[in-house]
Amino acid sequence: MKRCKVRDMNLYYRVGAERDLGTPAANGNPAANGGAGAAPTVNVRIDGRPIAVPEGTSVMRAAGLAGASVPRLCATEDLAAFGSCRLCLVAIEGRKGYPASCTTLVEEGMVVHTQTPRLAELRRNVMELYISDHPLDCLTCAANGDCELQDMAGAVGLRTVRYGYDGAHHLDKPKDESAPYFSFDPAKCIVCSRCVRACEEQQGTYALTINGRGFESEVIASQNEAFIDSECVSCGACVKACPTATLIEKSVIEQGQPESAVVTTCAYCGVGCSFRAEMQGDQLVRMVPNRDGHANHGHSCVKGRFAFGYATHGDRITTPLVRNSIEDEWRPVGWDEAIRTAAERLKAIQARYGRKSIGGVTSSRCTNEEVYVVQKFIRAAAGNNNVDTCARVCHSPTGYGLKTTLGESSGTQNFDSVMQADVIVVIGANPTEAHPVFASAMKRRLRQGAGLIVVDPRAIDLVQSPHVRADHHLQLKPGANVAIINALAHTVIDEGLEDEAFIRARCDMAAYRIWRAFISEARNSPEATAEATGVPAAQVRAAARLYAQAGNGAIYYGLGVTEHSQGSTMVMGIANLAMATGNLGRPGVGVNPLRGQNNVQGACDMGSFPHELAGYRHLSDESTRRLFEAEWQVALDVEPGYRIPNMFDAAIDGEFKGLYVQGEDFAQSDPDTQHVYAALSAMECVIVQDLFLNETAKFAHIFLPGCSFLEKDGTFTNAERRISPVRKVIDPLAGMDEWDITCRLSTAMGYQMHYAHPSEIMDEIARLTPTFRGVSYAKLAELGSIQWPCRDEASAGTPLMHVDQFVRGKGYFAPTPYVPTEERANARYPLLLTTGRVLSQYNVGAQTRRTDTVAYHSEDQLEIHPADAEVRGIVDGSWVGLKSRAGETVLRAAVTERVLPGVLYTTFHHPESGANVITTDNSDWATNCPEYKVTAVQAYPVSKPSQWQEMFRRFTATQQQLSEQALSEV
């Protein structure tokens, strides 16, 4: 019965073409409907059919809703009406001429005719003009079958072009194929400006323009340069918007038009964009952002849109591999042997070193269901709580800090909420690089006039970029976060800007009084903290006033908050500030962590921390534990297990010997690489489940080939708690579902785990987790996505948290003393290094480096201020040695004023960069989240790679040799 249901769902999600009503809904803004009141209704008659639509609806949209499709070329639902193509003209009784239906809004009693003989003639004559300057190569055109110009020529009945084809034209213009994923063929351009408008309105980059005017009008990138050299960020919005083959995916040029589509969820960042994976049979042709996607509303970034080639890259391992030691060659084996070997080795280790000598790590890249079964495997089959998730190294402080203050380990808002923010505060986050689709929404709101405060050591793009300028950039020194959040809160109290009514009604007053006394202390004033932060007190006070008096103040933060020795303190400081100013519990406000990976929220929700079960319930909670014990039929250890860094320490100590790693690459991503290497080398059985033989796999004994997101059914939970379906587009290349690998391993270890389909795993999660109670695959199919908490079957989810009261009841003000990090600059290490990401690459780069996005970012570079560069004799593009207390590496210099003197910055997408060779083992006091964002270093010119890099190259070469046979057999 259940299986039957599952099959139905598979049918359900193979979807047809996207509907396009030509103009956006009446509120004009796809992301502006959170909480907006319903517009009054207007009654009109279109082609004899009466229809009622919201005030502000275009005649074109109303016609579409009434079932009358008006021909159009420049109009699309994703963009504001433009009125240039003049195909959508209609006749309106009582009006002169022929108004464009896209730009004309409905009025009460309006009577519209979309088809009359004169309109037919007019449209045909306009189309005749278009075609008089268009190549006649429809049959061999890449857009053949998916060309709106072709469709419209058909729709208006164009049969002849009386102007002939020897007039002025643009047919000889050369193609621009410089961009890695799409080509630009100006000969086919109809100058509808959809690409330009998409770049402006949707993406907010403004990289395209119309050059010249009149007949000479042409679309260009930046100053008429190749796309690859221009301001274009390759988000693909222009490609999606283009009605012809002018801007088209190279994959479509090569493969032809897709014939079916599956709606799924992107596996890159925490925005969780919904995509249509468009297919030819079982071949993926392209990924197109889904207009109905609740997180992205039809928008995308370069990674989700284009960088999926890694899924079929030649480096993919599709056969399980086994070896005895890391000096041995890998041996390809069948699944049964691999699972049996893994289980035997883990059992042997437990027998020899004790039950707690093994553990597992879940990946935020994997689905909720996959994560869930891994933590269940460790707790139930391995019988301990040594399970952690890679969120440990990114957002564990968010979980701790928000749980403590607000009562729930999650962001408070939906993404659309930003459209109602009056002042946006971005702290330690770089949305345009790391959360680009949400950044586009944010920039849209900023263009509408919202204020902006950026708290960051570096001048990120949001500080100043086209049509965006921060009102305040609090350019603090790395490590001074808590000092500045305290100074902001101090100002609020000091200047009487707190929201007393909110605090009284919603917060724990005893805790508030303690906090108020603490924060009012002079040491927390902007004046007293100015030396530590490097930010002038007046600027801090001005920013505090702007936020506190905003109306709606919304805080967005990222790893620049969490990845510090005081990450958890800072998260609580942010929550305190929001509570003190009443900025919680309604649209447009809130405290919003921007999650790095696609399923950070989900991996945390699933109970893969060593101290808690799904839904953030501590192991010590008797009733919760009982619930799981009853469902799983096993006794659970009541004590917390090891966190990832504890595991490494224990491994070096000799008491932790076996590790099951699900899609996580410690050897590149975790700090203090040499320490990680030592820990991995000390273990007897490292099982890596991944797509590629990654850095960690070089230390592994068993390799279990995983599935790319295209190969799985499951769910991801994005940064706004939105559970979205991930759907199998192609079958697993290695022939095994990832959740099934874990289940088989568990069963082989002696604990039976059997599911027919991931939907059954979700059903179990829903049974055990109050916040997921109403979640099911059937409901996801119906609603598209669901934001937890979804406490019962009737609920459609919860976009906004803490609306009437905080999850913990009363909001808790936690005192947040500023304790400077021990990682301090001194004479030997006078500079502070901080790290971040770039748009085109993704974290460790395992995926993106195996795609054509490398064209945008082929190496990590070290940003250094001109003053620091000059005194060291470092010039732009030269090699720089970088030495910290932990290690030494070499990077190429990028001399820039984006960073302050004394501060260095780099990205960490390429393993050979060794960014983590120099990061230290310092970590957040509460959660052990590593302090990636502050490392004291010295920089100096060098001419050759570091010792570590030499070692890395040798080691990599050796490991490559050891895997060659396995790879050649695959």
Binding site: A81, F82, G83, S84, C85, R86, L89, G97, Y98, A100, T103, L105, R118, L122, N125, V126, L129, Y130, S132, D133, R162, Y163, G167, A168, I190, V191, S193, T209, I210, G212, R213, G214, F215, E216, S217
Partner: protein, 494 residues
């Protein structure tokens, strides 16, 4: 005691040598040269006026040599054989009803004192005593219609802005006078700039705007310099304490004379047409309620306020009240500006005031209303110069420019030029204009070459109708009008 001699410093007058004449006169004994604007009697320029007890007497046209000779022994008197007599009594001035242009050519443009002495700022004083609604009412009652070409009732536009929600509101003066055959705006800006400033201040009071922009085309350098100086003087005299007025320069785009394109340009963007609605009155400059009026419209306002709506309405006919600043141009004997009441016959203006063609050959056609206006054949010369009568013959008055052509004119070539101009100046937004104009040139060429002429005439007519019905703005929508007029009235030339 020296005698005042008035020498125009107007753009055209200077092109005809007024500066050299002024220099020659300045060295004459007993003469004090004052540089005024031009009266608009350009066939008499450089026209030097000499003050006498009876009034100013005129001498012209002069050049440096004749001026030196004339003024060699001191200022000439009315008895001099070259004297044209009292300027005000010249028949071409006598026949006019100068309301808007009353001070043009009379005063020194940058003299606040002279401006006031000749009735300036009286309208503003009156407006200050009225409520906003009462000012709007006065302008509405006067029946003033936009002189830029669209002829929309100014009072109604102002009322819309007055009633629109928004702060700030803007007054934008469209000084992008780009129609061939027109120069009235230029003359106001060069010769009586304070009247424009006063008009804008009154408009500001009328709608509750405290900020204004004048967008002047870059092809008018003298107007720009004069206005810039006038704004500084008005500031100095305290007229701009409560009103920020800025002058902005266009950059050669004819389309920026269309109000939405002009607003885009003022915002620092490509001068691309915006669709309407929303009207600029509701969502104009930077999305705020905005009055956009032409120079002459705004410069007409002070006189309406000063002398009352009834006085203004006593000129003109029907719904075309007040006066029209006719600009006679092209192949015409007496080219210049004539402010006359609406309703006068076209023939009277062209033949009586204008004196026929400069070449002496018969008039073949008059193009009225700029490059988008129809070519009117002599058989329609009895049409009255008012909006409705012109509409009845498929023509338009536009900004009041009349370009005269003699028999040598090739109207087929002029029809081609209409498309060529449209192609040259199209903003490129809408398809009928962007591609249609180029195809129009090509089709006309084919017809003129005799290729499938009958089919191509059908196609041409289709194209014209497509552009008229399909274009986003007046450029594409009206560029076919001269073409259709040629097809209608000069069929054998196209």
């Amino acid at each position: 005691m020296s005698v005042e001699a008035f020498v125009p410093a107007d753009f055209t007058a200077c092109a005809l040598g007024a500066d050299e004449v002024a220099a020659a006169v300045a060295v004459a004994p007993g003469v004090e040269v004052r540089r005024t604007g031009s009266r608009g009697l350009y066939w008499l320029e450089p026209l030097v006026e000499v003050a006498t007890d009876a009034g100013r007497i005129g001498f012209g046209p002069l050049d440096a040599a004749s001026a030196s000779a004339l003024f060699g022994d001191g200022p000439p008197d009315a008895g001099h054989p070259r004297c044209l007599g009292l300027v005000e009594e010249l028949p071409w001035l006598k026949a006019q009803s100068r309301l808007t242009m009353a001070r043009v050519g009379v005063i020194e443009p940058l003299s606040v004192a002279q401006y006031k002495a000749h009735g300036g700022f009286q309208g503003l004083d009156r407006a200050r005593a009225l409520t906003s609604a009462a000012i709007v009412e006065t302008v509405t009652e006067a029946g003033l219609r936009g002189r830029g070409g669209a002829a929309f009732p100014t009072g109604i536009k102002w009322r819309t802005v007055l009633e629109a929600e928004g702060d700030p509101k803007y007054i934008v003066c469209n000084a992008d006078e780009g129609d061939s055959g027109t120069f009235a705006d230029r003359m106001i800006m060069e010769s009586d700039p304070f009247s424009l400033i006063e008009g804008m201040l009154i408009a500001g009071l009328a709608v509750g705007a405290d900020c204004g922009y004048i967008y002047c085309r870059a092809e008018y350098p003298l107007a720009i310099d004069t206005l810039a100086a006038a704004i500084r003087l008005a500031e100095g005299a305290g007229y701009l304490n409560d009103f920020r007025l800025e002058l902005r320069k266009g950059a050669g785009a004819y389309i920026c004379g269309e109000e939405t394109s002009l607003l885009e340009s003022l915002e620092g963007k490509r001068g691309v047409i915006r669709y309407r609605p929303p009207l600029p009155a509701i969502k104009g400059l930077f999305g705020q309620p905005t009055v956009v009026n032409n120079v002459i419209s705004l410069a007409s306002v002070p006189a309406i306020l000063a002398r009352g709506s009834d006085h203004y309405r006593s000129f003109g006919v029907g719904r075309s009240t007040g006066t029209l600043t006719v600009q006679l141009a092209g192949n015409v004997r007496r080219g210049g500006l004539f402010e006359v009441p609406f309703g006068k016959p076209l023939r009277w203006v062209v033949e009586d005031l204008g004196g026929g063609t400069a070449s002496g050959r018969p008039i073949k056609a008059v193009q009225a209303g700029g490059p988008l206006g129809a070519y009117i054949p002599p058989r329609h010369f009895d049409t009255a110069l008012d909006y409705e009568s012109f509409q009845a013959i498929d023509a338009m008055i536009g900004h009041g420019g009349l370009v005269v052509f003699d028999e040598a004119a090739d109207l087929g070539a002029l029809a081609r030029y209409a498309f060529e101009f449209c192609a040259e100046e199209s903003c490129g937004k809408c398809t009928p204009c962007r591609i249609g104009a180029v195809r129009g040139v090509e089709v006309v060429d084919r017809i003129r070459r005799g290729e499938a002429a009958a089919d191509n005439r059908v196609l041409l007519r289709d194209l014209c109708r497509t552009m008229i019905d399909g274009s986003l703005c007046g450029l594409g929508g009206m560029a076919p009008l001269p073409v259709l007029s040629v097809m209608a009235h000069f069929a054998d030339e196209l």
